[in-house]
Amino acid sequence: MLAFLLRRFLTMVLTALCLTFVVFFLTNLPPNLEKLAKTEAGSRITDAEVASWLEKNGHARPLLARYGEWLGVVPGWTRSENGVTTGRCIRQGMDPATAPRFCGVLQGDWGRSSFFKAPVAEKLGYHLGLTGILMFWVMVLMVPLSLLIGVLAGMREGSRLDRGLSTFSIATTATPEYVSGVILIAVFASSLVGLKWFKGTATGAMEQVTFDNFFLPVLTVALYGTGYIARMTRASMTEVMTAQYIRTARLKGVSFGNVVLRHALRNALIAPFTVIMLQFPWLLNGVVITETLFSYKGFGWTLVQAAGNNDIPLLLGCSVVAVFVVLVTQLISDVGYVFLNPRIRIN
């Protein structure tokens, strides 16, 4: 078990390094840097001035060195000009002699957002918190709903209830967030139908979460995932229901309800656990779309702003968070699966 964990962990670190390097490479391509120089130093500067600005701010160094600096394993660059020493790790008004040698992600220095003019760590922390609230309510709605649908559909395969719920599941998996969000807003928040039960934006929810400003975004994110988890649960449930021990229990005279609740449910819920964990990366996409649609300024909104405004440090920060979430959920789902399912042994 320990060797398995260690191997998984090492693969994870290697994957994270590769992914962040790819993101670093793609965000630091020459056209991006040129655009950065023009937004920082004025849009009408000449090519020579762009080159000198990049040189002065440490962007002209080799890619690997810059990646190492950002990561915090290569000492930050320093530069002496006319007796003034500047450097990656030397903040304004800081004595160059006391400045740290390394300042990268590993040291907790995520850089400074060029668009928001604020430290990336601070910015990310705030917006991640907002997304955390959204995700929490999504989970609260999605997990019980999808498991219930899946179990109800799977306990009597081929019944009318099964057909109805399965069609519903297929319909939700065919409805991406930007479609369901638009339909939900039009039905429940616009003058078209005139229901106006909920608000069409979730901007107010950043201050105070209420039912009418938060229900629609939560439902929008939850719906797309619900169908998928429900289908997995249904498949797992139908498989369990045909097992020998279920038939034995029925023949012993245990009531159908008891068989489902006591005998089938526990074994049927192992597979959906993995699926729910692996839904996190998918939810990340949903969150970006939904936050944009409902103008809720969470992590997804930040990612869109960072990408749209060529904010390299912030975009890198977002990628680190996204990659981290994906890899950690993969690890948890693998380890959890082994714990939940005694039939799987790792040697």
Binding site: T11, P31, A174, Y178, V182, V323, V326
Partner: protein
């Protein structure tokens, strides 16, 4: 002229789609007549769900084919009086109606929705097919040989899968990236796979008949190679291998980026599916028999394993076209790649969402269109799965 009521709108729309109805009825009549001779496709007509799905999919396919005859107005033509007008609004000069209203620039929502189907139907199946070629060409040897090759390829696939799709799109589909020529380099790599796949496929089969093999492979290399070169090269960009005169297929650079990134996102999942199926099938007796006969590895992979993996692959192909449609919509929704004027569904939803609470119809119409197509594909996949499991 007065505005149309809901009944009038419905009748007018049904009337506009007349070529689609005729084509649908013909398709169903002919297929149902000969269904016993049509294999898996014929058995689809035994399942209600599959038939409904197939009808939805074919509706959009025929709409895309006959789009030129269905649209009522110019897709880009603006009539400023009809800005955000509700469905059924009459044109001021009496030249007809905006059947599903006007959008924020006074363009016809109905015509844009119909024209948008053409973009989706052109890109989504083709991109999925390319992703399948890439996934199959890499997944078969990874599953068959195992070992280092498998470890390496699986690691790469997991690497791409660990990327949140939207982040990848935001990184790949930007004007800055296009400037560096990176999408074209990616296209060079990704488009090579279908060519390699076809050559290896035929070579493995007709290896024992060199004369036949030679002219077949030569024909594929000539036609495919020319198509490949004219697809990747664009005059005036970083990759301009072919002179403009021979470069017949000219894909606009923004469409190429969209296409490449969608293939890139889909290929690793296909790879994993094919690899899993190969691992399962290679333990079967007929594979062992082929090995004993002395068949070569690529023959076994492509002509013994692949045909026996076709059931799950066909089902996944349908599902994946739906997923690709969703991805294309996502790209349009974020205004990535496709031009803002383009009538594709994602871009129209994006344009319409700003006024959603006042005038929802410009966003609702393409949203429902996209949903019905994806739903159709999912139902079709479900029907196919059921029918292929039956034997």
């Amino acid at each position: 002229m007065e505005t149309l009521g809901w009944g009038g709108i419905l009748l007018a729309i049904l009337g506009r789609f007349w070529p689609v109805w005729i084509a649908l009825v013909l398709t169903f009549a002919v297929s149902a007549r000969f269904r016993r001779r049509l294999g898996l496709y014929g058995r689809l007509y035994d399942s209600t769900i599959g038939m409904v799905g197939f009808a939805l999919v074919m509706f959009w396919v025929y709409t895309a084919v006959f789009a030129g005859g269905i649209v009522t107005h110019d897709v880009l033509g603006q009539v400023s009086q009809l800005r955000n007008d509700p469905p059924g609004a009459a044109l001021p000069d009496g030249a007809g109606f905006y059947l599903l209203g006007g959008d924020h620039l006074g363009r016809d929502v109905f015509s844009r929705m119909v024209a948008g189907s053409r973009i989706v139907i052109q890109i989504a199946p083709l991109a999925t097919l390319f992703a399948f070629m890439v996934g199959i060409t890499l997944g078969l040897p990874a599953g068959y040989y195992g070992g280092r090759l498998d470890t390496g390829l699986s690691f790469l696939a997991n690497l791409i899968l660990a990327f949140p799709v939207i982040l990848l799109f935001y990184l790949l589909v930007t004007p800055e990236i296009a400037e560096t020529g990176l999408p074209q380099y990616l296209a060079i790599v990704l488009f090579l796979f279908p060519l390699a796949f076809l050559v290896v496929l035929l070579n493995a089969r007709y290896h024992v008949q060199p004369a036949r093999r030679n002219w077949m492979v030569a024909a594929i290399l000539l036609i495919g190679g020319w198509a490949y070169l004219s697809l990747v090269s664009a005059p005036g960009s970083r990759v301009a291998v072919l002179p403009a005169a021979v470069d017949l297929i000219d894909v606009p650079s923004n469409i190429l980026i969209v296409f490449v990134s969608v293939v890139f996102v889909n290929a690793p999942t296909v790879f994993r599916i094919v690899r899993g199926l190969t691992l399962d099938i290679k333990t079967r007796d007929y594979v062992a028999a082929a090995q004993t006969r002395g068949e070569r590895p690529w023959y076994i992979m492509l002509w013994e394993i692949l045909p026996n993996a076709r059931g799950p692959l066909i089902v996944d192909f349908c599902l994946r076209i739906g997923y690709t449609t969703i991805l294309l919509g996502t790209l349009g929704f974020f205004g990535l790649g496709l031009s803002p004027e383009s009538p594709d569904w994602g871009s129209t939803i994006n344009a319409g969402r700003k006024l959603l609470t006042i005038a929802p119809h410009p966003a609702i119409v393409p949203a429902l269109a996209l949903m019905s197509l994806v739903l159709g594909l999912n139902l079709l996949a479900d029907g196919l799965r059921e029918e292929s499991l039956r034997d």
